[in-house]
């Protein structure tokens, strides 16, 4: 056990975590060069393309140092705020962390919160200044930032470049020298922390764990403490580039367990594995049920594909336990699902995976958060879709989730970011200069305001030099209203939204204008109205179609023209109908990108 080192990497997106991890794997000959694929740890296509880690992974390296053989377990962490709970569990499985900072950019908001998580878990932090070979790297300034943050010595900071292969050996040596060996009693009852799970279509769910105390043998009857379920440990082993089965694993080890579990829901990250024979009395602390923060409807583009969508969602859920959904129906969109996501990125990922892995094109409705509505009778209703909102006269008050948002940016963008956050009903709570031109700002604001185009705007107005992290701080009363959109007097439920009263007028007006652009002319006039309750707050009119006729229709035109019209008819069929008005899908999507 004394030669085991369990560590994770804390880094911001783009700071070179994956490349550096690849170099560690190469240097320790964990992968042969010909097997090397860039960003080896990110094994989902989507991850590799976006350069982010969505799920955490783990890999074991062997390293010979100062005459001793070390086993290094790298537990990768997801790099996005949506997945902060997973990050916290990965951190809990380690004794040390590499803090990787891009020497040309400095520390970002999320790095800081993850770093605090790591420090809070007593992890040994090894600071690494990455991309040191870049001409515009600023090792001095960034080193000062790091020293301010973790109070280390300047000499503790390793200079490295994943791309150029600089500093790799120093990092490996530091891992052996500085990170403590795991503690834990191999003879105690088994206590293993589940930090991730992966779906394998042949073998079921693979559970990734770290043994804190005790010993796990192949064939043991194991129990997951929080779910109470019992399985047989059919196969256990360590995670090399490929899995290597073992007969026995002990305190300090990191590995995988296969026990024929079919559904990801049964495996909860943070849960404790113990044996049935000699169960532990206490589960590992910090377990939480992941709760969705953002809700949206997902509907098949072709109404007839509802069952296919259901089966795709079921399969998706097998390896994404944080995705929750239930069937819902909409007048405009037909049958679909109300889904809960960890955050906006998670929502995008689900949508993209549906398209890529299941070839399902879907319409996503305006994302919403979960509101608490207190009725005049005094009962509390949870509302996560505009359609569930009671009529205004039954509502006493509405509470919405608020967050603490931490933003780190360059001082040049402070003004613009403050006004963005104010516009999003934010209140500035703190402003702190990390260096002369890097500022950390803390805002309190409604979650509802950031689930919608906030991140894009933040990135745009800071030219990418702003990072965001947030945490939920509770529910607060707000003056919210349900805004409806009507076409020729019929409500289009899929376009309804719950918005703050002060913004309803602006929202309604912009939405009406946008719909005027997107709805095709029809053979009659179309009135587009935005309303709060019975009150119309905005209106646009699309006049009736005046002309739709091609000039020529001779011998060579007939078949081309027939096909053109058939195609248009097919396009029309794909539109959704509310009352007598046909609505193209783009109209539902455009709501997500107002401006």
């Amino acid at each position: 056990m004394k030669n085991i080192r369990n560590f994770c990497i804390i880094a911001h997106i783009d700071h070179g975590k994956s490349t550096l991890a690849d170099r560690l794997l190469e240097f320790t000959s964990t992968v042969a060069e010909r097997e090397m694929q860039d960003q080896l740890l990110d094994n989902m296509d989507l991850e590799r393309e976006r350069g982010i880690t969505i799920k955490s992974h783990a890999i074991q390296m062997n390293y010979h140092y100062k005459g001793e053989d070390y086993v290094l377990n790298l537990i990768d962490t997801p790099g996005h705020v949506d997945f902060s709970y997973e990050v916290s569990r990965s951190i809990a499985a380690c004794e040390g962390a590499l803090l990787i900072v891009d020497s040309s950019q400095g520390i970002e908001a999320q790095t800081i919160s993850n770093l605090y998580l790591a420090i809070g878990n007593d992890l040994e932090i090894i600071p690494v200044l990455n991309k040191i070979d870049l001409p515009h790297s600023m090792p001095e300034e960034v080193s000062d930032e790091i020293i301010d943050l973790i109070g280390c010595d300047k000499s503790d900071i390793i200079h490295a470049s994943g791309k150029a292969g600089i500093g790799i050996e120093n990092i490996l040596n530091a891992i052996c020298d500085r990170i403590p060996a795991p503690k834990g009693d191999p003879k105690a009852p088994l206590q293993a922390l589940i930090f991730d799970s992966v779906f394998n279509s042949y073998r079921g769910i693979e559970v990734y764990f770290r043994i804190m105390n005790g010993t796990l043998k192949k064939g043991d009857k194991v129990k997951f403490v929080n779910t109470g379920k019992i399985y047989n440990a059919d196969e256990i082993g360590v995670l090399k580039l490929n899995q290597e089965p073992r007969e026995e694993m002990r305190a300090g080890d990191v590995g995988y367990l296969i026990s024929g579990i079919k559904n990801a829901k049964e495996v909860k990250v943070g849960d404790t594995i113990t044996t049935v024979e000699n169960p532990t009395q206490e589960s590992i602390q910090g377990f939480e049920e992941v709760k969705p923060m953002v809700f949206a409807g997902i509907y098949p583009v072709e109404t007839s594909e509802f069952e296919e969508l259901r089966s795709a969602m079921e399969k998706l859920q097998l390896n994404d336990a944080s995705l929750v959904w239930e069937p819902e129906s909409s007048v405009a969109l037909g049958f679909g699902f109300r889904c809960g996501f960890l955050g906006m990125l998670h929502m995008e990922i689900v949508q993209e995976r549906l398209e890529r892995e299941f070839d399902m094109t879907v319409i996503t409705t305006v994302p919403s958060v979960q509101f608490k509505v207190f009725s005049t009778k005094g009962d509390e209703i949870t509302v996560n879709a505009p359609s569930d909102m009671p009529e205004p006269n039954y509502i006493d008050r509405i509470e919405e989730p608020f967050i603490k948002a931490q933003i780190i940016t360059k001082s040049d963008y402070v003004g613009a970011i403050i006004s963005l956050c104010m516009d999003k009903r934010g209140q500035i709570k703190n402003q702190n200069y990390l260096t002369s031109d890097r500022v950390e700002m803390v805002f309190e604001m409604p979650l509802a305001e950031i689930v919608f185009d906030f991140f894009d705007k933040l990135k745009t107005l800071s030219r990418g030099y702003a990072s965001l992290d947030y945490e939920l701080i509770g529910f607060r009363t707000s003056h919210l209203v349900k805004l409806d959109i009507m076409l020729n007097g019929e409500k289009v439920d899929a376009l309804s939204a719950i918005v703050h009263r002060d913004k309803a007028y602006d929202w309604g007006r912009r939405l009406c204008e946008k719909l005027k652009e997107l709805l095709p002319r029809q053979m009659f006039e179309i009135a587009i109205q935005a309303a709060i309750g019975q009150k119309i707050i905005s209106r646009e009119t699309i006049s009736a179609m005046r002309k739709n006729v091609l000039a020529k229709c001779y011998g060579g035109d007939i078949s081309r023209k027939r096909k053109l019209l058939e195609k248009q008819k097919k396009g029309k069929k794909r539109m959704r109908q509310v009352g007598n008005v046909e609505i193209p899908q783009e109209a539902f999507l455009a709501v997500l990108k107002l401006d």
Partner: protein
């Protein structure tokens, strides 16, 4: 009864709006003519034993053909087909080609109907469309043709060209009526993707007219034509009594036709076929005595939809009983929609024939596609 269409794929210059198949290099003109004659021989069975009563030279610019080339084609046609003595033989001509001498030659040939591509009498518009002729040539070409003895002349005009008012369009129509032609085809300027105007529109440097503006010009056109004794026998075609284009009318009545030359289409009730739209590929194939075309078999649904598409545009209307023969009963399948169209006066139905009203003609494509049968219903 059947028709023959011959595509002459050459032009002096490319008009900015045109996406028909043509080449502006005339180098291969005589070899293409020879190849067309070859194709005539290869295709002499296509129309069975039907008598040919219309021949149409389209393009491109058929007036670029020399009298020898024209003769070469005619003699081949006569050798391979049974051509009615009173066949309507139309040739499309550009005003700049119609010199007095050229017109003498044409008058002496079997051509008995001239289609003159005037497009506009307004200098600025002709320039903007990159026509090869000016306004004066446009006007005189018609007079010269009449002098040469042509008594069945049709002219093309384009409307909906961006302009501050309808004044120019009215002026074009007035000038046209003064020429006393027998037939007029009027087309709304259509922006095709693969043309100069298409590219400029995409880039934003050309702004097409609003639908409302074009619709108003169509209404002006229809009213003016009525006032001058012309019948609108198809959405874009107007004539004095008895001067309908027989050839084009046959397209809309499902008469069989054989298309010759690059990009030409042929039809025989059950299939359509289209020659390769590439002069070099066409030449290569025919040099080896081979045809280069693609064929599309028409399902019953296709046939019904084509009937709807073409018949609704004409004065003869869409015979609901004929559609019933295809297995479609609009009265049953589209009852609500027909009621709505009737109520809004987009259509009228008389003796089980459905006609578009003037208002409905502007929405012909919309109504057609709404009435179309689902292609999936084919099985």
């Amino acid at each position: 009864m059947a028709g023959i269409y011959i595509h002459i794929p050459f032009c002096k210059q490319a008009c900015h709006y045109c996406d028909f198949h043509f080449s502006t290099s005339l180098r291969h003109k005589s070899s293409v003519v020879t190849a067309i004659c070859q194709e005539i021989a290869l295709q002499q069975q296509y129309l069975g034993n039907q008598t040919i009563n219309t021949i149409y030279f389209g393009g491109g610019t058929p007036s670029l053909l020399s009298s020898e080339e024209l003769l070469q084609i005619f003699s081949t046609l006569h050798r391979c087909f049974n051509i009615a003595p009173d066949a309507e033989i139309t040739l499309e001509a550009n005003p700049d080609d119609l010199t007095k001498a050229k017109l003498q030659e044409l008058a002496a040939s079997p051509v008995n109907r001239l289609s003159i591509g005037i497009q506009s009498f307004h200098e600025e518009h002709l320039r903007r469309m990159n026509r090869a002729h000016n306004a004066q040539e446009a006007y005189y070409s018609v007079l010269y043709a009449q002098d040469a003895g042509f008594t069945n002349i049709t002219t093309d005009l384009i409307y909906g060209i961006p302009a501050p008012s309808h004044e120019l369009w009215l002026a074009d129509l007035t000038k046209l009526f003064s020429l006393q032609v027998q037939h007029v085809s009027c087309y709304a300027l259509t922006i095709e993707e693969k043309t100069a105007l298409g590219r400029w529109t995409k880039k934003g440097s050309f702004k097409p007219s609003e639908d409302e503006f074009v619709a108003e010009q169509f209404e002006i056109l229809v009213a003016q034509m009525q006032a001058h004794g012309f019948t609108q026998y198809e959405i874009s075609n107007f004539c004095l009594p008895g001067f309908e284009s027989k050839h084009n009318s046959n397209y809309w009545r499902g008469v069989h036709y054989l298309g010759l030359g690059p990009s030409a289409h042929s039809f025989n009730s059950h299939s359509r076929q289209y020659n390769v739209a590439n002069n070099a590929k066409y030449l290569t194939a025919l040099t080896q005595n081979q045809l280069a075309f693609e064929r599309e078999e028409l399902t019953v649904v296709d046939q019904a939809n084509e009937y709807l598409l073409t018949s609704l545009r004409t004065i003869w209307g869409c015979d609901l009983n004929r559609l019933r023969q295809f297995g479609v009963d609009l009265r049953v399948q589209q009852k609500e929609y027909l009621d709505e169209l009737l109520q809004k006066e987009y259509i009228r139905i008389q003796d089980e024939v459905l006609y578009l009203t003037d208002k409905g003609k502007l929405l012909a494509d919309q109504i057609t596609l709404d009435l179309f049968l689902e292609p999936q219903a084919q099985a």
